[in-house]
């Protein structure tokens, strides 16, 4: 069947199998930032934005996308000009193997578009469908906080001065411990 949709601003006319999943169709067309993790809606590695809302592309039939607008990480920023949320993930050290990262970044984008200054609880809930097997999540939460600050200041690069309070607290505690002579 014929599918007409917009991906990262580009109009697309694709021939697809009616039963095909959006995840597979996107990857076949080169959008390989969209990852297959669990394939059943649990891990969020396949997250895309559909008309601005987060969706698991492994739980969508491509046919549902007729006339819709999709954003993947490829459309969010470039290597030379990353999106402030992407920069925030780097600044926070929230990327290790990187498999979960496209989904995390898009889920963060959807959250902050809807709730520009979320509470910790709101962040946890919004990301409870994005699993990361590397980072332990603390730095991912930091990255979301840094994103909030960066987006508030018009997408300024979140430099040292703009780092999240959690980092500052850790650094202060480390300083104090060093002064007290009880570093490990």
């Amino acid at each position: 069947m014929k599918l007409e949709l917009t991906v990262n601003g580009k109009p697309c006319h694709w021939d697809i199998e009616p039963g095909a999943l959006l995840l597979d169709v996107l990857r076949e067309h080169g959008y390989t930032s969209v990852k297959r993790g669990c394939g059943e809606g649990v891990c969020g590695a396949c997250t895309v934005l559909v008309d601005g809302k987060r969706q698991n592309s492994c739980l969508l039939l491509a046919g549902q996308m007729q006339g819709r607008t999709i954003t993947t990480v490829e459309g969010l920023g470039t290597i030379d000009h990353p999106h402030p949320i992407q920069k925030a993930f780097v600044a926070a050290g929230a990327v290790q193997c990187g498999f979960c990262t496209p989904g995390m970044v898009l889920a963060t984008k959807a959250l902050l578009d809807e709730t520009p200054e979320p509470t910790d609880e709101e962040i946890r809930r919004a990301l409870d469908g994005n699993l990361c097997r590397c980072t332990g999540y603390v730095k991912i939460l930091d990255a979301v906080h840094i994103s909030v600050d960066a987006l508030k200041t018009g997408g300024q690069h979140p430099d040292q001065a703009g780092r999240h309070k959690a980092h500052q607290a850790i650094e202060e505690a480390m300083d104090q411990a060093t002064k007290a002579g009880d570093t490990p």
Partner: protein, 303 residues
Amino acid sequence: MLDQLTDFLYPTTVEEAVEALAKAGGKALPLAGGTSLALSRNARVEVLVDITRLGLDRIDVDSDRIEIQCCATAHGITRSSLADLPEAGALVDAAQVSGPSGVRAAMTMGGSLAQCYPWSDPPVALLALEAKVEITRKTKRTVGITKLLEQHPSKALTPGDLITAIVLPRSGGASAFLKQGLTVTDDALASAAVSIRIDQGQEHGKKSTRRKKKAEAPQLSHLRVALGGLRPLPILATGLEDLVGRPMDDAWYETLADLIRSQVRPTEDARAPSAYRRTVAGVLAKRAVQKAVERWKGEPTPV
């Protein structure tokens, strides 16, 4: 994969949608969030009728009813004005934990009810809230949730039927939902939804502030408890009449838990033995009433 699927239809009005469903007979299904259908292997489905373009995703709160249209998503419920309404608390709680965030963003209330898995959360809340389900084919009919859930909704719905809205009566009370799984959003091993109204009878004739009323030990004038995750379909607890109008002390809550435990015969499977589910159901019912009372008093009630 839906191997026999050949076509998608994208109606923009309810009339077009029901006509398309009727025309295709049993070979067509409505497609809402797709969180179940996308991975389905239903070999009979040849046509999917996408119902997400009918403009049926509103949630309207009026003085005498709350109308939730079929394509309102779980995420939409948690962000709607229902989140500030103590009486709708059970549905908001249920929507907040109906699977991981990516699923909640897509799954719809109509789809949740039509699919109704043993662990599904919103149907349990809807049963406690005495929802009425509006079903449309050529004409509209309304079926009470208790009746709809006497058998699996897919049996009650004939091919061509579309759940178009779910209507909750305004109760003026409070409600809450809790579930037990391995994680907050895991499939429920057991769940409980309660809807209560607080009896303010003692105050009759006296002038007293709402704050003062709320400080006193409450008594209920209405209690309805629905249980999920225990049997193939949500269950409505019975025999709770004696608890209404009695002071809600510790013994009251223990009696409630005992009544729940003594009437359920939960399924046993690889995830949990029956006895575990039975015990947990009693505890959840008790805690859900406590949560609803706190909600009625205006206290914060984290999920």
